[in-house]
């Protein structure tokens, strides 16, 4: 059965740029556009992987959602879903990046602009873990 991927990003063009190679690679893709709708979609769709943007309704919405899904107090079901964070080398938030369990509990990063080949490689890597 094809893996389900949930994209949480408020930029429809980025969502489209992610959706095209993912669907072409055979994944079932859904999307949400805010922290709140993203959290609802996670429970409804029960994705195998989440692609999460950092800045949405607020500059740190992605970080906050990652904390809710994988941080202290998160359910085992949420913790089991790997998160690939969409980021920029020059992230313009006051927060520092790092795939550190303690304060940014995500499994990997993918840089914007997204290179489709690299996106597929990263997704395969995370789904194999």
């Amino acid at each position: 059965m094809a893996h389900k991927i949930l994209i949480i990003d408020d930029d429809p063009d980025v969502v489209l740029a992610l959706r095209m190679p993912l669907e072409s690679a055979g994944y079932v893709v859904s999307d949400a556009h805010s922290q709140e709708s993203g959290l609802k979609a996670v429970d409804q769709i029960k994705p195998d992987l989440i692609i999460l943007d950092v800045m949405m309704d607020t500059h740190t919405a992605g970080f906050q959602l990652a904390q809710k899904l994988h941080g202290p107090g998160a359910t085992e079901e949420h913790k089991a879903i790997p998160i690939l964070m969409l980021t920029a080398v020059h992230q313009t938030t006051p927060l520092r990046f790092s795939p550190d369990e303690d304060y940014l509990p995500v499994e990997g990063f993918i840089e914007k602009p997204v290179d489709p080949k690299r996106l597929i490689t990263e997704i395969k890597k995370l789904l194999q873990k």
Binding site: V14, V89, H90, E122
Partner: protein
């Protein structure tokens, strides 16, 4: 307005340096005036005063290090001035009391205290100084303390017993002390207010640049992501001409993206290198591990092997909140960017507790830098000839930013390179002890 911690630390060090001169000056001056000029000085007490000044200055130089908190520096500032005034009143007493030429040093010291203390503290200390000097004059006038006269100064008319003279000296001494300390305090306060105003303006400018840059980056990143889908055939097959055009558009947009990213780095590094930016303990190793993690996908994409040899020592240094990230991120990103596919990048990290340094070397088997360009490589907006000839986009901001930050952290940046063979950049930063790095945000 309170002085910043850095200002307190710098002023404490300035006073310590001046005091070495003062301490040795008393010793040498006493011996010179007594032995060479033949003046009848109280040599032993004056030498004891000079040695005491040097002794407490040694103690102060040991306690005035970077690791102490603000309250510690404030206590040291008070302590220094009080100890100095005790030493100075002793010096004044043994060189003629109210008639001593050394009295003028109190005025000089009042100006110095105006630089490092708050107005109410300066006023209190000025009153104290006047009371001390007045008290000494009164004790000598009343005969409760022996008056030490220097015969060669020809003051045989017992000026120290002349109430009018004492009153006149105290009036001029006191008024000079008050006026001078008040003037210095006001000027320093005004300067601090201006500095704070400039800091706020810089902060507003940085915020503007950050927001504006994000607004520029977001549509560009989305557009480029879509273009890469077209390039990689996810929107159907392209003719040769369409593909050539798409690649040209991508190349131009990548150039624009690099420019925006570098301008953002420049804006952020301006904040990090600004004199007001606070420095805090930060672990070089922790940041290096994060940077390697971040850059690994870039290296993998170009089939570049990353070889790292990292010491386990956390290597804590004093740095700004994003300074280390900019330094290490730029150097590793450059190494990967300017190394052709299939090349190598070596990262070594070591800590020397003996030399008190942290050393990071990032070497690559990349295109190198032409010898003729080496002297300009740290200049803002400078790009080496061979870098410009490649398709690799760049603005020449990265290395100059790294250099500015390393200088700010009192480190040393060295670069060795040979065109066509590769480049090795070494950053050496001063290690601090005792402190644990700040919590990551």
């Amino acid at each position: 307005m309170q002085p910043t911690l850095e200002e307190l630390s710098l002023n404490a060090r300035l006073l310590i340096r001046l005091r070495w001169v003062a301490g040795f000056g008393i010793l040498i001056g006493t011996l010179f005036v007594s032995a060479v000029l033949g003046l009848d000085l109280q040599v032993a007490p004056l030498l004891v005063i000079g040695l005491s000044v040097l002794a407490y200055n040694t103690a102060l130089s040991f306690v005035s290090h970077n690791d102490i908190p603000r309250a510690g520096f404030e206590r040291i500032a008070w302590g220094q001035i009080l100890l100095d005034w005790l030493a100075m009143i002793a010096l004044v007493h043994f060189t003629g009391g109210i008639t001593s030429p050394a009295l003028i040093y109190f005025v000089l010291h009042a100006a110095l205290s105006g630089m490092i203390l708050l107005p109410w503290q300066v006023r209190s200390l000025t009153v104290l100084a006047i009371l001390i000097v007045g008290g000494l004059a009164w004790l000598e006038r009343a005969g409760w303390l022996p008056h030490v006269a220097i015969d060669e100064l020809n003051l045989h008319n017992n000026l120290h017993e002349n109430t009018t003279y004492i009153a006149a000296v105290m009036f001029f001494f006191g008024s000079t002390m008050f006026v001078l300390s008040e003037l210095v305090t006001r000027i320093v306060q005004r300067l601090r207010q201006r500095e704070e105003h400039i800091r706020q303006l810089l902060e507003a400018r940085s915020t503007f640049v950050r927001v504006a840059t994000h607004e520029l980056r977001a549509p560009l990143a989305a557009g480029l992501s879509l273009m890469k889908n077209i390039e990689q055939g996810y929107a159907g097959e392209l003719t040769e001409q369409q593909m050539a055009l798409i690649l040209r558009v991508i190349s131009r947009l990548e150039g624009l993206r690099t420019l925006i990213d570098d301008l953002l780095t420049l804006a952020r590094s301006r904040e990090a290198t600004a004199a007001h930016a606070p420095l805090e303990p930060d672990s070089v190793r922790a940041m290096l591990v994060k940077i390697i993690e971040r850059e690994t996908p870039n290296a993998e994409h170009k089939r570049i092997a990353l070889h790292s040899d990292l010491s386990d020592d956390p290597g804590v240094i004093m740095a700004g909140p994003i300074g280390l990230q900019i330094i290490l991120g730029n150097l590793l990103n450059n190494a990967i960017k300017y190394t052709p596919e299939g090349g190598d990048v070596w990262i070594t990290y070591e800590v020397s507790h003996l030399a008190h340094t942290v050393e990071v070397t990032i070497a690559d088997s990349g295109i190198g830098i032409p010898a003729a360009d080496m002297s300009s490589i740290f200049n803002e907006f400078f790009r080496a000839r061979n870098a410009k000839e490649t398709q690799i986009t760049g603005t020449g901001i990265g290395l100059s930013t790294v250099k500015t930050l390393v200088d700010r952290y009192r480190g040393v940046l060295t670069l060795e390179s040979e065109e066509g063979k590769g480049t090795a950049v070494t950053v050496k930063l001063p290690l601090i002890s005792k402190q644990t790095p700040r919590e990551p945000l």
